[in-house]
């Protein structure tokens, strides 16, 4: 197995242990372990099984989906700055989810919310990819993403402006800022299938991303079915990102930071990048979520806020240092 993958595996295991061990209720490690084995008090088991574990797993899955979607979109659009957050995919997915919440449609069934988020993500990915293929300009692409993000944010602001009561307002703020607080195994179960399909589609089409490193024209000449490749990445990234948003709201920059950090260790190959990017994305969000929980702030920081605080400077750094194309 690859060295990077091994190191990330160890990191993930450590982060999972920390996530379960740390929290607002102090719980010694032996009681945590006992609770994990159902050998403890009901209170301890509740904390570990109903609160900490689903929350840690939600952070991990969301980070993995965003990390892999970012890596795949960057490979397809040949741009290290492409990412679900930057391209407006997360914001659009969050908007669709908020819409469903606002009009009370989410009570119709547990699948309504993930479906809405996935639909929003797919539409946004399709729009951005169409624009990217038409213009072939990196700058235009980012600007279209910024425009899409702003437009989604504007409609979101409009909905908040018209919010009937403070509770729905608080709900919408959560979607916008992104958090894995209060996630249950049920939430996971309804989001994971979409995420899994997205990940499988991305992994199945990853070899084509290597070919795209030489440009559309050369890749086509080399035997790549360009239409199928684009469609696979759009669908895969749309499903994975949509499911991530359904689970945690809009969390930005993970999809940019994770691939960027592992890329040099994988010889800059866009195909081999997918799995380590997913793993590092998961690790980053799990660690950020632990930070959010143990930081002694009056009201808990939102995960998406922390991700942006850490990720936005990295985005600027990558943009300022680009050399090729």
């Amino acid at each position: 197995m690859n060295r990077v993958v091994s190191i990330l595996l160890v990191g993930l295991a450590g982060a999972l242990v920390l996530s379960v061990a740390l929290g607002s209720v102090p719980l010694p490690l032996d009681r945590v372990l006992a609770a994990l084995a159902f050998q403890s008090s009901q209170g301890d088991e509740l904390v570990v099984w109903q609160i900490r574990l689903p929350r840690a797993l939600a952070a991990a899955f969301v980070g993995a989906a965003l990390g892999m979607s970012g890596a795949a979109l960057q490979g397809l659009l040949r741009n290290p700055l492409a990412e679900p957050g930057i391209l407006g995919v997360s914001a659009t997915a969050a908007l669709f989810a908020t819409f469903v919440l606002y009009f009370g449609l989410a009570t119709a069934g547990p699948l309504v919310l993930p479906l809405a988020a996935v639909a929003g993500a797919l539409i946004a990915t399709l729009l951005v990819a169409l624009a990217a293929i038409r213009t072939r300009s990196v700058v235009t692409l980012i600007l279209i993403g910024v425009g899409l993000s702003s437009f989604s944010a504007a409609i979101m602001a409009l909905l908040m402006n018209l919010a009937p009561n403070p509770f729905s307002l608080a709900d919408m703020v959560n979607w916008m800022l992104g958090t894995v607080d209060n996630r249950s195994f049920d939430d996971l179960i309804f989001a994971l299938p979409f995420m899994a399909i997205g990940v499988v589609v991305l992994l199945a089409s990853r070899r084509g991303l290597s070919a795209l490193a030489l440009g559309d024209e050369a890749a086509e000449g080399m035997g790549l079915d360009l239409r199928r490749q684009r469609l696979a990445v759009i669908i895969g990234a749309g499903l994975a990102t949509g499911a991530a948003v359904a689970l945690a709201g809009a969390i930005g920059f993970v999809g940019i930071v994770a691939p960027h950090l592992v890329r040099p260790f994988l010889r800059y190959d866009p195909a081999r990048l997918l799995v380590p990017s997913a793993m590092l994305g998961a690790l980053i969000l799990m660690l950020a979520d632990i930070g959010v929980r143990v930081l002694p702030t009056d009201s808990e920081l939102k995960l998406g806020v922390v991700a942006s605080l850490l990720g936005a400077p990295v985005f600027i750094w990558i943009a300022a240092r680009r050399r090729l194309a």
């Binding site: 040949r78 290597s210 070919a211 000449g221 080399m222 035997g223 800059y268 190959d269 194309a325």
Partner: protein
Amino acid sequence: MSILQASGLSYAVDGKPLVVDAGFSLEPGELTALIGPNGSGKTTLLRLALGLLQAEAGSASIDGEPVARLSPVERARKIAYLPQARPLVWPQPVRDVVSLGRFAYGAALGRLSAGDEAAVSHAIGACQLDGFEERAADTLSGGELARVHLARALAAETPLVIADEPVAALDPRYQHQTMRLFASMAQGGHGVLTVVHDLDLALRYANRVLWMHEGRIVADGTPEDTFTSERLRRVFGIQAEISRNGASFRLDILGPA
């Protein structure tokens, strides 16, 4: 038998014809140069012949099979195509870029078969990139990069190579070396079609020259038969003299006509 046979190819954008009724065939053992002024439709013609662009009229077939019916992978195993624009985005090592030439054979980076490895090493040697294998693409000069792309195309080991201005960024030494490489490939039974802007190179190395002007193929034949002062003036708008000295030809370009 021809490897590639194109006939009556036509293509227009917004009513402006880019390629009009163009036909040609490529034979194994021949180095064919496609020449013509800027905007004469050379690149479009190549893309039509490869099936990368849907022709409005006419057809192209590879080994007797219409390109429209070939899958991208089947086509890529018969023709290696080196496009004019070669944007590289990631600072990948040279060996990895060349290895992408094995894409049509199912190769993935980091998992090359022994056959893939051999083809890649051979292409790296042929393009004199030994010692550059682990260099990052963004540290290479324009000429080195052009050779990397050429090596990528050669690594596919196809019966036919189609290159769009492969020598544009190269210094004279590598221009001649590249043309020699093409000539020796042709002697070895490959078919090679290359777009060149340096008429001297076409005259010196090509067995056959396709002349393109305003979307049409206006001449097709050996350099000896097709290089005339009159044609150079008409197609390229230049005043030039051709002189024969024994077996070799000399082209003197005096200036714009």
